[in-house]
Structure formats: C-alpha cells, structure tokens
C-alpha cells in the first residue's frame, strides 16, 4: 500500500489518459462503425439499397480486418497511423489505430442490431412515401436504438481492454500504468489499483448504458 500512495498522481493521470484514448476512439470508431454497419445493412441483397457487389466487398473487408489481434494490428498499421496523424507512436497514433480497428468491430454490432428491425415496419414507411435516407434516419436507427446503445456500451468495455496495450507504442493509460509501475516493479498492489479503477470505470459506463437503453426501450 505504501508504494501506491506516491503513485497516486500517476494513477489519476493514467485514468484520464485511458478515458481520453477510449473516448476519442469510441467517437471516431463509433462513427466509422455506424457508417460501415449501415453500409452492410443497406446493401445486403433484398435490403433498401441491395447491391451484391458492394455488400460482398464490405463483408470481406470487415472479415479480413476484424479478427486481427489488436496488438498485431497496432504494429501492422503503424505506417498508416504515421501517414495520417504524423506520428507512429504515442496517444494520437493509438487513437487512430484503435478507431480503425473498432470501426470494423462496431460495424458488425450495428449491422446485427439493425437487422432486428422488422421488415414490415420498413415496408410501412415505404408505403407512406418515405425515401430511403429518411427511412434510415427516422425509422431504422430509432427502432434499433435500444440495442445499439447496448452494443456501443459493449464496445466501450472492449476499447478499455484494447487500449491497455497502448504502452507498446509509447501511449499511456491504465494498462501502461499497471505494467510499468506494477508488474515491472514487482508491485502487485499497484497493478490491483489499476484493475480496481478499470472495474469501477466499466461498471459506471455499463450502468449508464443500461439506463439509457432502458429509456430507449421503455422497459
């Protein structure tokens, strides 16, 4: 315990960094994943913009990138991160790579949740003269909002997990803190402190996500 007290400022700093990395990645990755997921959903044969070629391409793309373990993806995508953010290391690079990886994962979650919208409801909107974009924005997304919120909550937890390897490319956060001050210095109490903060963080976000979803689902 005595070893932890002098590290308290670093712990808070690391917590802040984790929130920063995860928050921005969730934003960019979430947006990219939403668009990609909408793309998968709407181009699926028989859907609003049914197009076998586009759907097939997106589908294969997502299937290629999604299963790559994140720590390998981080290394492999480093040149791309450098090209886009100007640096291959540090928090900016990890936010970029994390957003990219998350977008592929989120796209599947978005696609799955949109598929739960009853086709009849979409047909009803069409019968009322609604155009495709209007149907996507005012019917499909609102109808799937509850499960979508839960999906994004799930992704937040996954991002906290993935962001823990940020230290490998010179990024910060709780994962880096636990390895650097806890594991490498044979100081399990410090590691446990990081674990505790992560547990609290995840609990809080899950609670928030659940209550928002409950509101959207009205149950």
């Amino acid at each position: 315990m005595d070893e932890l007290i002098p590290l308290t400022p670093q712990l808070w700093e690391a917590t802040y960094e984790t929130l920063y990395i995860v928050g921005l990645s969730l934003f960019f990755g979430g947006l990219g994943g939403l668009l990609l997921g909408l793309g998968l959903y709407t181009t699926r044969p028989g859907s609003l913009l049914g197009n076998r070629a586009v759907f097939g391409t997106l589908n294969v793309l997502v299937n290629i990138f999604r299963p790559i373990p994140f720590i390998i993806f981080l290394a492999a995508a480093q040149p791309l991160a450098r090209a886009v953010t100007g640096t291959g290391i540090g928090n900016s690079a990890i936010i970029f790579t994390l957003s990219l990886a998350a977008a592929f994962g989120i796209s599947r979650i978005v696609e799955q949740n949109l598929l739960t919208v009853q086709p009849g409801v979409i047909e009803a909107a069409r019968s009322l003269g609604a155009g495709r974009l209007r149907i996507i924005l005012t019917i499909i997304i609102p109808e799937a909002l509850g499960p979508l919120i839960l999906g994004y909550t799930f992704i937040f937890v996954a991002l906290v997990d993935m962001s823990a390897v940020a230290g490998y490319v010179g990024g910060g956060g709780l994962g880096n803190f636990a390895i650097q001050y806890g594991y490498r210095q044979f100081n399990p109490v410090v590691t446990w402190a990081a674990v505790l903060v992560i547990i609290l963080l995840v609990q809080a976000v899950q609670f928030l996500g659940n209550s928002l979803a409950r509101k959207a689902l009205r149950r």
């Binding site: 009853q118 009803a124 069409r126 019968s127 009322l128 003269g129 019917i139």
Partner: protein, 342 residues
C-alpha cells in the same frame, strides 16, 4: 373509368437457387376496381394476393403488364414519382407494422411530415384522425401499450393521414380475435362510406369478404380464377377454389357422406331446395308441400344475407306418397333449383 386498373400483369421473382426456374407469383392478371367500392381479393396463402396488392402501390415492381392508378402509370416510373403516388394510397397490414419507437401521435404524423405539411396542419389533422378512430386518449402512448384492435386503428389513422383515395388492407384482421375483427371491419366500412375511400381487402377469411366487400376476386396459383359481385360468387361459385371458400361460410348442399348420416336419422326422400334472391320464396315451397299432404322436416342448410339479398340451400326430408311428391317437385322445378339427394 376504373380507379385501379391492371392489364395482363405478371410478376415473377428470381429463382431461390442458381439455375432454378423463376417463381411466378402473379400470372397474367387483369383487374378493374371502381372508385368508391370495397373490392375483396381472396385466396389461400401463397396464392399471390399479397404480391398483387403490393404491385398497386409499387412496393413490388411488375415484371410485365400495365398498372394505372387514378389515371397515373405505376409501372416503369422513377422512384421519386412513386413516392408521391404512395401518398395517395394508404396501406394497413396484418402485423400492423407500427413504428415502435414513436408514440401513437407521431405514428400518425409521420406521413404528414413526409408530405411536408406545416406544423399547424399536422396538429389539426392528427387530432382529427385520432378522433375518427376513437383513440384521442392514446395519443402519447407507445404501440406496445395498445391492444391488437387499437394498433390496427392507429394503422388505419396513419394510412389515412394524407387523405388518400385508396386504402389497401393486407390481411388487416387476420391477427385479431373475432370481436376485434368485427370492430375493425366496422371502422373500414365507415372509412368507405363517410370518407368515400376505395378499399382493396386482401384476405383468406371468407366472412371478411362477405361482410365488407361489394365485389370479389378469387385467386389461386397467381391467377384470378373467378371475379364478380360478392352475391353472385357466394350464391353460385363456378370454380373449385371459389366453391371451397364459399363452403367455409355458407352451409350449402350436404356432401354424400353427410347425406348418408342424414338418411340414418331421417326417413323419407332427401331433397335440397336452393333459393336465390328473386326466386320463389320459402313460404310458397312450404305451402305447396303442405297443400299436397306431404310431411316435411328441415334437416340441413341455411339462408344467408348479403347486403339485403338472400340466398341459401335448405335440405328437407319428405314423407308421403311417391307420385304426390314427384308432381309437387316437378312443379317447383320451374321456379327454383331442386335436387333430390336420396
């Protein structure tokens, strides 16, 4: 001029598997629906009636043939124009298909927003519609808080929001219990009478056609096998599918099996008299039998009423001297349809 006109319309879907043959859902159908009528389309599941109704508002595209609605071509028209056309055609569904994320009010307001109406217009129209379907007190409820009948009434209000000329009802009462069905059919009748809206009713329930429609088409295997006035089709169905449907609601001539059972319980000759609007009345038949000293007993059948016109089949067991019965039956044959079963 008919309000809805289909000419040699065919719709085929691509084969389910590569190399299979395309599925013909609608096979060379021609149909005219007049303004102000309630037109029934009846058939078993898979007969193509749901596809047929979706061709009218172009939710499905036709493979060949021509559809004209209210003087406007539906076939081969760009999407933008179709969306405008759909504002003039309301549609209700078996599963109601309400927007679950929206309140009753917003469900009904949705088509008005598409039509670009002003806020005040929408406000006034939605109140009026909810009043019409008797759900003013449910405006801020969500669909899951409503009963089946209430959901369908919201569906009707939503379909009528933009004051369409046509309402398409796709199995609109098939998910409802008999009492609620009755209530929704009553509402549809009001929509037709008070608002003058032409209704196309798709159903597999013959009693829906009987109580609602003025004309009916019977579909089987993607084709219309029989069409005409509901009274004519009900009282004298020509085709086998029509006869099967009619027999579900009309107690007609007993089958040979039933005749055998009736014979066990009743003595005498078993004769069916078929009455049709305008023919000789039942009273004159009974009077003639009694006058000839023939004992008779009613053992099977019934009389049906379709909007004030009656028809039906009555099967009697007749006991008396054979020559007397023969002469009375011969005399009646000139006025009504008489069939001796046993």
């Amino acid at each position: 001029m008919p309000l809805i006109s289909l000419r040699n319309v065919t719709k085929s879907f691509p084969p389910a598997r590569r190399g299979g043959s395309p599925v013909v859902a609608i096979d060379n159908v021609s149909l005219d629906i007049e303004p102000g009528e309630i037109y029934g389309v009846i058939g078993y599941s898979g007969a193509g009636k749901s596809t047929l109704v979706r061709l009218i508002n172009a939710l499905e595209t036709t493979t060949s043939g021509e559809i004209v609605v209210d003087g406007q071509q539906v076939t081969g028209v760009p999407d933008r124009q179709l969306r405008k056309l759909r504002l003039d055609i309301g549609m209700i569904f078996q599963q109601f298909n309400l927007f679950n994320a929206k309140t009753v009010w917003n469900n009904v307001a949705y088509p008005l927003r598409i039509a670009g109406r002003s806020r005040e217009d929408i406000e006034a129209r939605v109140s009026e519609l909810l009043e019409f379907v008797g759900l003013s007190d449910k405006a801020s409820n969500y669909p899951e808080q409503l009963s089946g009948g209430q959901k369908q009434r919201v569906g009707i209000a939503r379909a009528l929001a933009t004051s369409p000329k046509i309402l398409l009802a796709d199995e609109a009462t098939s998910a409802l219990d008999p009492e609620t069905t009755h209530e929704v059919l009553g509402l549809l009748r009001r929509v037709n009478r008070e608002l003058g809206i032409t209704i196309v009713v798709i159903t597999h329930e013959m009693d829906v056609v009987q109580s609602l429609a003025t004309r009916v088409a019977v579909m089987d295997g993607g084709r219309i096998v029989e069409q005409g006035d509901v009274f004519d089709v009900f009282s004298n169905p020509q085709q086998a599918p029509s006869q099967r449907f009619v027999s579900t609601v009309v107690r007609g001539v007993p089958s040979p099996d039933e005749v055998a059972v009736l014979q066990e319980r009743h003595s005498g000759r078993i004769v069916t008299f078929s009455f049709r609007d305008g023919d000789s009345s039942q009273a004159s038949v009974f009077l003639d039998l009694a006058g000839a000293g023939i004992e008779f007993e009613l053992i099977y059948g019934g009389i049906n009423d379709i909007r004030g016109r009656a028809f039906g089949h009555l099967t009697l067991a007749l006991v008396g001297p054979a020559p007397a019965i023969d002469s009375v039956l011969d005399a009646m044959r000139t006025r009504i349809n008489v069939k001796e079963l046993a």
